[in-house]
């Protein structure tokens, strides 16, 4: 986008970057804030329907779709109370920490092929790292509130989130390993084609890992049945017991923001990202064209992605309104005795599958794609260079192995590791 402003609007480079950055920021903040608005309304509707109620029906005409806005106005109008015993500075700062972290993570989340605020080669890692910071918000809020219930909530949150980061990370590694990259755009593009190319259906282990990922993601964003930090029947409202008004609503925006974030991440990592179950745009040839058609194809991809993310969020809501809450020790047991071993097992299984080149859904004749072709351009270039260099040395270029990872560099590294180990 910066290039667009630079070349088309003939803005100077720094200004072009600045304008592009501001546009990205505004877009993302709208995704988070408007997304929260919609998801809170959706949660009310979904829970209402699950519970034989109607949910909001009046505000804004049909379906009460402006209910959240009305609530937002109410929250703004509410008095902002700081308890006498609270640690003033941390109490005020805590909601923003969580919101900022949730918001930051969106920088690296692609919404369609190439539609991402900041292209990052380590986008997956970045998102995990930033999600890890979000835990400070409840911890600081709980500690600073000067209330015992808040402190309980904060301790639970800390213990839970830190534990669940382990299986979450393990699950995320699996798609990265199959795709050979941490770049989310590349991972998404490698799942183009029919839905059989989605990584969740790659082999049995990846499907298991996808399920474990979703469980751990639910836990890491504190949704029921893992919502111990705000367990209303035990801890009143947990870490946000003492909050009111707009400050309280920031916790909610952060929660809904992260919910969509982890669902979107699941969609990209396991469920094809912006690629629909049937590759309509590829069949039409729009995704290879340019101009308006390409834009339309990407817009379709974006809608696809938003739909998948929303499905993930709705599943989280469904679970929340169905299941009772686990106890803190059971949450830990679920993590340490089930999620971690299953994730590790799934990781090893997927690794085994990949190393032995067992048949994957991607190998189905006619519908599979060459995942390597969707790699980042610099990887393909480097590979071509090395292949040509190797061709100059060896008499027949056909001997050069191009495997699923394909790079000669990696083969040589592998050989080095093997011989080094042997010595």
């Amino acid at each position: 986008m910066a290039e667009f402003f630079h070349t088309t609007c003939s803005l100077p480079t720094p200004l072009a970057y600045l304008v592009a950055a501001i546009i990205h920021c505004v877009l993302i903040i709208h995704v988070v804030a408007v997304g929260a608005l919609i998801f809170i309304w959706l949660e009310r509707k979904v829970s209402g329907r699950i519970q034989d109620r109607l949910g909001p029906t009046r505000v804004g005409g049909a379906f009460g779709w402006l209910q959240t806005l009305a609530d937002g106005i109410k929250l703004i109008a509410k008095e902002d109370i700081t308890p006498k015993d609270a640690d003033w500075m941390l109490f005020k700062a805590a909601p923003y920490v969580g919101f900022a972290a949730s918001y930051c993570a969106y920088i690296a989340l692609p919404f369609s092929d190439g539609w991402v605020a900041q292209h990052m080669n380590t986008a997956v890692f970045f998102i995990l790292a930033v999600l890890g910071i979000e835990v400070f918000s409840p911890i600081l809020a709980g500690y600073a509130s000067g209330s015992k219930w808040s402190l309980f909530g904060a301790m639970r949150e800390a213990a839970q989130v830190v534990s669940y980061e382990v299986p979450l990370g393990m699950c995320v590694v699996v798609p990265c390993m199959i795709c050979g990259t941490l770049n989310l755009v590349t991972i998404g593009n490698q799942q183009a084609g029919l839905f059989t190319n989605w990584l969740a259906f790659n082999d049995p282990f990846t499907f298991v890992v996808a399920v474990v990922y979703f469980t751990c993601a639910t836990a890491s964003v504190n949704r029921a049945p893992f919502d111990l930090a705000e367990a209303e029947s035990e801890l009143v409202a947990g870490f946000h017991t003492e909050y009111s008004g707009l400050r309280w609503s920031f916790f909610f925006m952060a929660e809904y923001g992260s919910m969509f974030l982890v669902s979107g991440l699941a969609a990209i990592l396991f469920f094809g990202g912006w690629n629909g179950p049937i590759p309509i745009f590829q069949v039409l040839g729009w995704s290879e064209s340019d101009g308006v058609l390409l834009y339309l194809a990407r817009l379709g991809g974006c809608l696809n992605f938003l739909l998948k993310g929303t499905i993930g969020v709705v599943v989280m809501m469904w679970v929340r309104w169905t299941l009772p809450r686990l106890r803190i020790d059971q949450v830990m047991t679920t993590c340490l005795k089930y999620c971690v071993p299953i994730a590790a097992f799934g990781f090893l299984g997927a690794l085994f599958w990949q190393v032995n080149e067992l048949p994957t859904s991607n190998d189905l004749p006619g519908i599979g794609i060459n995942r390597f072709e969707a790699r980042e351009s610099w990887v393909i270039e480097a590979d071509q260079q090395r292949a040509s260099r190797a061709a100059a040395v060896t008499p027949s270029p056909s001997d050069v192995p191009i495997g699923p990872i394909g790079s000669v560099e990696f083969d040589r590294v592998e050989a080095l590791v093997m011989t080094g180990g042997a010595r």
Partner: protein, 204 residues
């Protein structure tokens, strides 16, 4: 145009550097343990911003994940678990100030001399655009380096100083991780209660 002439890269660098240093100083002058931890979060987060600015996304994310997301959570958790009273405050004694100044000064000296040894940085004002954003292969290289393979030296296998599999950063990596483990075990040991097993009903 004025905006074009302005060095935006330096501006952002200054911004993040100021944040880093400012919060570091704020941490020093704060006397509340949890406030200190909070300032440390902000300071470390800002230094992660510096890494991102330099195009080293991996290192930046690493900084966030390990220091901010990992170590500091443990730290705050530890403070919450072990603090004798809430909002415990600490005063730094003058002797500690002197010792910290000596230590910090010598570290600063070391870093400055090391920094000025880099030839590219010595002659005047290097342009950020000339140095260029680091190429995007850092993940592979660092990762491989940690597991013992120097990818950047692969084309020189005849070099006798580079033993395959032994020339990377595996040993330092392992030492650091074992060190971290020892620190954690030590912290758990120190936080452990010293009450004797025969004392009954102390907790009830």
């Amino acid at each position: 145009m004025l905006l074009a002439a302005f060095d935006w890269h330096s501006l952002f660098f200054m911004f993040f550097a100021l944040l880093t240093c400012g919060f570091a100083v704020a941490m020093l002058f704060s006397d509340n343990v949890v406030h200190m931890a909070f300032y440390l979060i902000l300071s470390l987060g800002a230094s992660a911003g510096l890494f991102f600015l330099a195009g080293a996304e991996f290192v930046g994310a690493m900084q966030l994940m390990i220091y901010v997301g990992g170590t500091l959570v443990l730290l705050i958790f530890g403070v919450m678990l072990t603090a004798q009273s809430r909002f415990i405050s600490m005063k730094t004694r003058s002797g500690e100030w002197v010792m910290a100044l000596v230590l910090g000064g010598s570290l600063l000296f070391l870093l400055l001399t090391a920094a000025f040894r880099v030839e590219d940085w010595r002659d005047g004002n290097p342009n950020a655009a000339d140095i260029g954003i680091a190429e995007s292969k850092t993940t592979t290289q660092i990762g491989m380096g940690f597991t013992g393979v120097r990818v950047d030296r692969l084309d020189a296998p005849e070099d006798s100083t580079l033993v395959p599999g032994m020339s990377g950063y595996l040993l330092p990596f392992v030492i650091v991780s074992v060190h971290l483990l020892v620190v954690l075990v030590g912290a758990a040991y120190m936080a452990r209660t010293k009450r004797r097993a025969t004392s009954t009903g102390a907790a009830a």
